[in-house]
Each structure stands twice: as C-alpha cells, then as structure tokens.
Subunit: 441 residues, 2 copies
C-alpha cells in the first residue's frame, strides 16, 4: 500500500464541491483503481458550500495557504478566471506541487507561462476538466489517438450554446427567449457573452488544437463568431435542406496551415454531431489511421466535471512516480527539433468552405441575375438555390443559396457587393457549412 | 533524446501490416509525441505481405525468434487465436518483454494466466486494440472514467453484425442475403459464427466489464445470443414502434450482481447508439458522476486497429520508466482487500428487462385472452400491444407486445406456455428492450 495522495482543493463552487463529494462517495473504488487513497488534505475557499460537508478537513479562507501547505502533493484549482487563479497555480508550482485545473481561460491565454514554470519544477499540470467537462477528450487526443496525424476535429464544446440552439430548433423559439430560460435554469450566466459569443469555445478549441497538431497555444488567432444573431428563419430553412445548425469549434490541418474557428455551422442532419442535443457536448476527430472517432457526454456540471478532475488526480498519483521526461508532454507533443517547422494558423480570409447564404430581396425582375453575377465574379459557384416566402413583407422573398467551396476572402467580397445592391434589403445571412462525413480526405 | 523503443511485430496480416505502415508513415509525429523513436526491430511472420514493404527490417519465419530477441523491448502479438498466440505471449513475457496485443479471445479466455505471468515479470500487457478497434475505450474505462462507479455500459462492439443489421434495416433484405454480401466485401469471415453468434462481442464484453467493475474475467458467464434468427418482420415492426434493433453487449451493475449479456436489442431510435450505422462501433458508458458518455469509431480494419496498437506502444514507452506497482493495473483495478467482496455475475434467469414479443397466431376469438392471461400469471405487465397483418397466411396475424420490466425466468416460463397454445403457430420472437436514456438511476 502506497501512502495517500494528499489533495489541496481550491474553490468550493459547483465543481469544487462535486469533486469533494465524489472523492468521498467513491473513495474505495478510487483507491482500488489508484492503488492508494486519494484524500482531501486542505480546502481553500472564501466560504463553505452547503452542498458539501467538509467535516474535519482543514479549511483555509486564504487559498494561498493551500498552495504553500507542505502536506499537500497536488493543488486542484477550481476558482476560475485568470488573475487570482494564475497566481495560485504559479505559487503551487513554485512550491513543487502538481496541479490539476479545469480552467480553460487560464490555460488557453496563459498556458505557455504556466507550462514553462511547471516544466522547470518538474511538476504535472493536468487539465482534462478544462475541455468538454467529463468527456476524456484531452486523454483521447494526447494518448488514445497518438498514432495518428490528426486531419481535423469539430466539436460542440459549449453546452449553453447547444442548449439554446436545440430549443430554438425543437420549439421554434427565438434566441432571446431561450437564452432567458437558460439563465433561469442556471445553464447560462447573467452575462452570457463568454458562452454565446464563442469565447469559451475558442478557449477550449485552443487547447484541443495544440493537443491535436502539436502547435503552440494561439487563442488570439481563433476566428470567433457567436450565435446571438441566429434567427429562427435560418434554423427552419437549414432544416428543410437537411441540415442542423450547431455552434462548432473546428480545427483543420491543411497544406497551407491550421484552420482555427468557432462559428455557427450547418451540419448534415444524418451526422452524429447533429444528433447531440441539449447541454451535451461532443467532439469528432479525424485521424489518418483510425478515421473518424467521436466522444460524447456532459460538458459541464459539478460531478460531471469532477469526474475529469479526479481522473487527472489518479493519473497524477501514477505519473508522479515517473521521471518527468517520460511523462506525456503538457500539450501532447515534445518541442520540435531545431529548425523543424510546425504549421502556422491560417488567416480566416484563406479558409475555404461551403456556405449557406440567405438574402432577403425585393421581389423584382433582375435581382436574381444580379446576385448570381456577383457570385460568379467572385469565383463562387452555387450548389443549390431556393426562393421562398419570407416573413418580412409582402413584396420580399428569401433567396437561399448553398455554395460549393469558396474562400472567405471571396465570400466576404461577394457579400459586401450583395449588400450594396438596392434590392437586397437586409444584411446577408451567411452561415458556414461542414460535411465532415465518414470519408477520408 | 531517449533511445528508440524497439518493437518485435508478430503477424503481418491486415492489422500487422497496418501497424508497420503507420509506424513508418507517421514516424516523426509519433516520435514528437513519445519523446523517442518507435521502430520495428524484428518482424515475425510466416509470409510477407505485399501491403507492406519490410525493407531491411529483420524478418523471421519463426515468431518465437522475435519473442526471444534480446534487442526487442516490446512484442506486438497480431496473429490471433488462442493457441500459438498464447505460447508466444507467455514466451515474450518469460523473456521480460512488454506485450501489446489485439487478441480479445486470448485475453477474455486466458487473460488470468497471462496477466499473472506478466505481473510476476513486472511487464506491461496492453490491449486497447482488442476491444472496438481504434476507439480508445479501454483507456476511457481504465483512466478517463476512473472517478466513477460505473452503472452500466452498452456497446455495438462487432462491426460485422452492425453492418448486417444496418443493411437489413435500410434495404429490407434478409439476414442471409446481407451476410453473403458482407462475406464478399470481406466484412465477414467464411465461417461467420464468431461474429454473428455474438462470441466475438462476448469476448470484448468480458474485457469491458472487468475494466468497468473490477471483477474477474468471466467469459464463460456471458449470456450470448446471435443475430442469425432476426427477421425482416421484427426489424420493420420495431421501426414502426420507434425502435432500432442493434446487437449489443451489455454489462450492468445491479444490487444483486453484474449482468453480462450479448443479444439483439431494441433501442429507441432517438438514442445516439441507434444512429451508429454500418461497420462502425460505439460504446455508451454510464458513470455515477459523469452521467452517460459515448465513444464511437471504427471497430476493425488494418490502420484503424493499428491506431490503438501504436497508442499502446507509446504508452509502453512511457510506463516502462515507472515502477510496476504504480502502473495502471491490467484490468484497471488492484486486487480487492482481504475479505472484500466483489460483485458476482448474475445468472441470466435473474436479469430484469423489458421485452418485445411477436407472436404469430391464428386469428380466432379468445387467442388474445389466452395470451394476456399467461403473461399476467407470470407477473408480466404489458406496456403496449398491436395486432397487424402478417406475411404467413391469410388467417394469421402478428400480435406484438412491449412489456414492462420482467425477469428472464418469468419471461421464459411465459414463452414456454405461449408456445404450447394451439393457436400460436410459431415459436415466439422475443427481443430484449433497453432504454438507456440520459437519466440517472
């Protein structure tokens, strides 16, 4: 019997109390798996949480006391944000503690500094809980799929957004209406910006892309577009054409570089990703050897996220017994050799994909000819088109186009000209389309 | 830079040549992940395979030469079966080699002997490729979900069977017809017994259940029923009621013991598992903390399975640097403490589930009364019933029942009496129903 792994747990919110409770409830099961007990030695939290009974565990109001406690082997950071959390993690590392965190913002934006400090001290920083909650997707990318050259990944990695889109589609309701319900249910924050504008998804995509492609963390280069301007009309029209609109994080390796983008996306209804409903998450990954694989489950929630936190603790209990240079690198890859190039992130202008375009136009002769001429002049070819009534007035119609693949630069140029036409009465509604499919490239 | 990990590759069939080729093609990527090159040092194969160019790698016709080669760090066993493969694995272990294998039959039936020998020598035996091909489901169970008490898992873990059922459903064809096509395409063996009678799935379920619940390997206690007697009529009727028939391996922890069973199963069409088509595999796992998670991908194929073999090799390259007692136990759990009980496998008679029952009856007054009386006398209550035409003759009709939960013992007793009725002209068609769902117990 090895001696217990002693945990310093910072933060007693939903995930913190979930972690505390699952460690207690499943203590024997966890011990049989880890080969040693995993015990909470010290809790750091500004206030207690009635959802968990800390009993006779030491509780400090100053979380830094936990980072400095000589009895603690590993600090679990569940306070969130990237100011105090950054200091806490760096302080824990400075004291030679291993770190487990669920903090995607901190790692996506300041991971370089943190991993560098951890490498210098030879300690582990584990972060399975930072991406897609309880789904072991970081482990899948760093270890399970490690034989593959990853071609692309696409994921529903924000539960709030998927909850809103699912209810908009199933119930025909507006974005604002469902958002208000999500806020009432606790699925969305009072300020929903991080979730609905795609910032949270971009944080997670940053981590996924580094673990998939061996590139540096580059949050600032993720193209990010939210779901707050999506209309019921687009959801309905997409449905008619056999598509479901999902808010996806997409990373793809191309010959010219890595695409990194978060935006609403038309996905064929026949695909598994399109069937992922409610607050659930899923990530599909294409490897050159394994083909497509998909990982599905809860992307948030107290015990759901605690599942990943504790799996990391069990990994730490093993890997700390291994010389640091043999451990899986923080982001899955060792540094490139001298002079070895790693792929760059492709500017959004150079991304190539298919598009859904909905234009509200005055129903006059010649308008369609003008539209198709502009598309042709920008090298955009049309896969299908339909014209149908629109809710915006008697003399107006929807023109809905699906295009073949075109570059963002061309599409942006075309849209600018389309919006300048007298008969196009609205800003164009442009949504990107992905046909991930089962087929290899 | 650490020294290369030297691999002895035994077997150059589909998976063996896939492993050889992926190791070569992705050598640099794998080296950046593992922190050292992974090289094939010695191949053992009775004949070469034109699908891979072994170049100047040493090739022996006697695979035991590989197991004894002092240059080899890890032996990859891809010859299959459990006679020569068993000897090879034991010989490799006796020579202090780590082992990676894709051999489900060997481990499910003789894993105890193999893991015991490996433990004595302090070597690793890794087997991700043995279950669900390229899907990292063993890693998910042993590591990713290690915080959870697993409540149940259900999986499509035989690609041949799922290919057949998918085509029967989509194209209205018979079992025999689709099987012949699967054989022509190479998806099914000339003797398809292992796949279509559920033996292969039972091997995999044995491994999954041990990794999920910490119970010994008990292949001989898996209830196993194949798909060869499934009719188009049942597939169609199930579809009308909103179900898809899948051949599932199911393991569930109940208060009385562990259910272990492989059989055709009605799954609600709305569930993700129901959408898994063709030769693909998926496993859904319910953990008490994380809730349901699902893992989807290729369950067979050369490079697809090689993906798992090589991921295991990369793990071996790390874990061999760790004292053996810190490594993840072979089946995920350390031995129970003295006097600690582990759950027993529940006899099939005690399994409780819902049923679909299709009876072909003579269309005479009183037959329905006789049927419902027998069910009532066996404590089986009916959730819904429908009567419809049947293809078996003008005076015959189908009576289709969905029952509430009942025990196998009760259902078997009822079926015996139903089949003895004069007006029931056929053996009863009984298919079990699962509503996995998202809800917790």
């Amino acid at each position: 019997m090895h001696k217990p792994l002693k945990v310093g747990l910072c933060g007693l919110g939903t995930v913190g109390s979930g972690t505390f409770n699952v460690l207690k409830r499943n203590a024997r099961e966890i011990e049989r798996r880890a080969g040693r007990p995993i015990v909470v030695e010290h809790v750091g939290a500004r206030r207690n949480n009635p959802a968990c009974d800390t009993g006779d565990v030491r509780v400090s109001r100053d979380i830094f006391d936990v980072a400095r406690d000589p009895e603690v082997d590993v600090v679990v950071e569940l306070i969130g944000g990237n100011t105090v959390a950054r200091e806490l993690v760096l302080e824990a590392i400075a004291h030679g503690k291993h770190v487990v965190t669920a903090n995607k913002a901190l790692l996506a934006e300041q991971g370089d500094e943190i991993f560098r400090a951890a490498a210098e001290k030879g300690v582990i920083v584990a972060y399975e809980a930072a991406v897609a909650g309880g789904i072991p997707i970081i482990k899948a990318l760093r270890e399970g799929l490690s034989a593959n050259r990853i071609e692309w990944l696409g994921g529903i990695i924000n539960g709030t957004g998927n909850f809103i889109l699912t209810h908009m589609r199933d119930e025909g309701r507006s974005f604002e209406d469902v958002l208000a319900e999500a806020q009432a249910l606790g699925y969305a924050e009072a300020d929903p910006t991080f979730d609905v504008e795609g910032i949270d998804a971009a944080h997670k995509l940053t981590l996924l892309a580094s673990a998939a492609f061996g590139i540096p963390l580059q949050f600032e280069r993720v193209y990010t577009e939210g779901i707050s301007r999506l209309t019921q009309e687009d959801i309905t029209q997409a449905g008619r054409m056999g598509y479901v609109i999902k808010h996806l994080g997409i990373a793809r390796q191309t010959d010219k570089g890595i695409e990194l983008r978060v935006h609403p996306t038309l996905v064929p209804a026949s695909q598994l990703l399109a069937s992922v409903s409610g607050a659930l998450n899923a990530v599909e990954v294409m490897g050159d050897a394994v083909g497509p694989t998909l990982y599905y489950g809860a992307g948030a929630g107290g015990e759901e996220t605690a599942s990943a936190v504790i799996a990391d603790l069990i990994d730490v209990s093993r890997d700390m017994a291994m010389p640091a240079e043999y451990r899986t690198p923080y982001l899955g890859f060792n540094a490139p050799a001298d002079g070895e190039s790693v792929p760059v992130v492709l500017p959004m202008d150079e991304v190539v994909c298919s598009y859904y375009l909905r234009l509200v136009v005055e129903d006059r002769p010649g308008v369609l000819a003008a539209i198709t001429a502009i598309l042709a002049e920008n090298a955009i070819s049309i896969e299908s088109m339909l014209q149908c009534d629109c809710s915006e007035g008697a003399n107006r119609v929807n023109i809905i186009l699906l295009t073949h693949e075109a570059s963002e630069a061309h599409m942006n140029a075309a849209i600018e000209r389309l919006e300048a036409l007298d008969d196009v009465v609205h800003p164009a509604n442009r949504i990107r389309v992905e046909h991930f499919g089962q087929a290899r490239h």
